[in-house]
Symmetry: C2
Subunit: 210 residues, 2 copies
């Protein structure tokens, strides 16, 4: 799974010490960016504010990232990778599509219920609603890697005869993930493992009688 | 369909002239509220700003509404009712569930592609993402009436044997509307009649082979 990796500092001749310093600055910048977006929201988060809180110069941030949106998206991606490990970026294939999708969605529910993920990702998503360019970057950088995994898993299910061949996997995956995303983002209903299990059953077997 | 009606001014003894004046003020307030939320966003829209732009006193607004959220939600609901007529608040029942849901979703796509609806509802939705109380009010006042119509239509389909009896209509409706809502709100993909037609077919007949 090609997950976007944080930009590395320009190589130069990094002695071990300067590498450690760089890594420490990067961590401080990520932490500052996530804390600020939670506290003051996306519009009031600035590169200057992130630099001041991280204890680094503004130029350090501009050397590695081109905008506050870039810093925030990479900080959030780094958080997701550190806290959840590689799990969200692999998709199980036990041969049982329903069980595999239910497992991934249950993990997503647990993540949505964790304030460390909920608060910054909600702040970014809210800005993405009204700021189309940022919204499209969020999709491309944060969501697409996960969507690709669903597509791959659904294609494997098609090859195994468990999903109809004429189904478009890019649309089909939305039957699983969009209802959960809408309940979470728009507060339209409670989210739980029982709920996502029902979504998977409804989507795979359809609402109409067989 | 019990659509929330705008609060009426306290009765008193309204002569025709004062009724006309009240109606004119109400319209000016709605227009000002929608224009402001589009121009400056929800957080910077204030009762003072709405009053100034509408050419009315702040007290006129406070006499009819308790908060800017109330004004905005009623202004948006009024816009939806005026522009779209009663259509979005009835749900066809021709006996053909797929055709009926496709027709409603196509009309929703057309509305989402209309800037008069898109811009203010997007501004309100973005605020609802990070402001849980407002988000829940938006669901209760703006979305629930439509959701109830889907529930009624799905129950009628269950009675007619076209939807499995064990399906929960409140969850089932999300297979139709949440993918569309997420594409629209989060810019995750293009929206079109062909897309919503596919959603209806996938949801009714399931992804798995029959």
């Amino acid at each position: 799974m090609a997950v976007q990796k944080p930009t590395q500092p320009a190589p130069g001749k990094p002695a071990p010490d300067s590498t450690r310093r760089s890594e420490k600055s990067r961590r401080a910048i990520y932490d500052a960016a996530l804390a600020l977006v939670v506290e003051v929201g996306y519009p009031k988060t600035t590169i200057e504010g992130i630099a001041a809180r991280a204890g680094v110069g503004k130029q350090t941030i501009y050397r590695w990232w081109s905008s506050k949106a870039d810093v925030l998206m990479e900080a959030f991606l780094d958080l997701a990778l550190r806290e959840a490990g590689p799990a969200p970026y692999t998709f199980p294939d036990t041969g049982d599509l329903a069980a595999d999708v239910k497992g991934v969605l249950r993990a997503t529910v647990d993540q949505m219920n964790d304030p460390r993920f909920d608060v910054p990702s909600r702040a970014l998503a809210a800005e993405g609603v009204v700021n189309e360019q940022l919204g499209r970057e969020l999709v491309a950088k944060l969501m697409q890697p996960s969507l690709d995994l669903y597509i791959d898993r659904l294609r494997a299910a098609q090859d195994a005869g468990q999903v109809r061949p004429e189904i478009d996997p890019r649309i089909a995956l939305e039957l699983f993930i969009s209802p959960l995303a809408q309940r979470w983002l728009q507060h339209t209903g409670p989210i739980s493992h029982e709920y996502t299990d029902a979504l998977v059953d409804y989507a795979l077997h359809g609402l109409a009688p067989r």
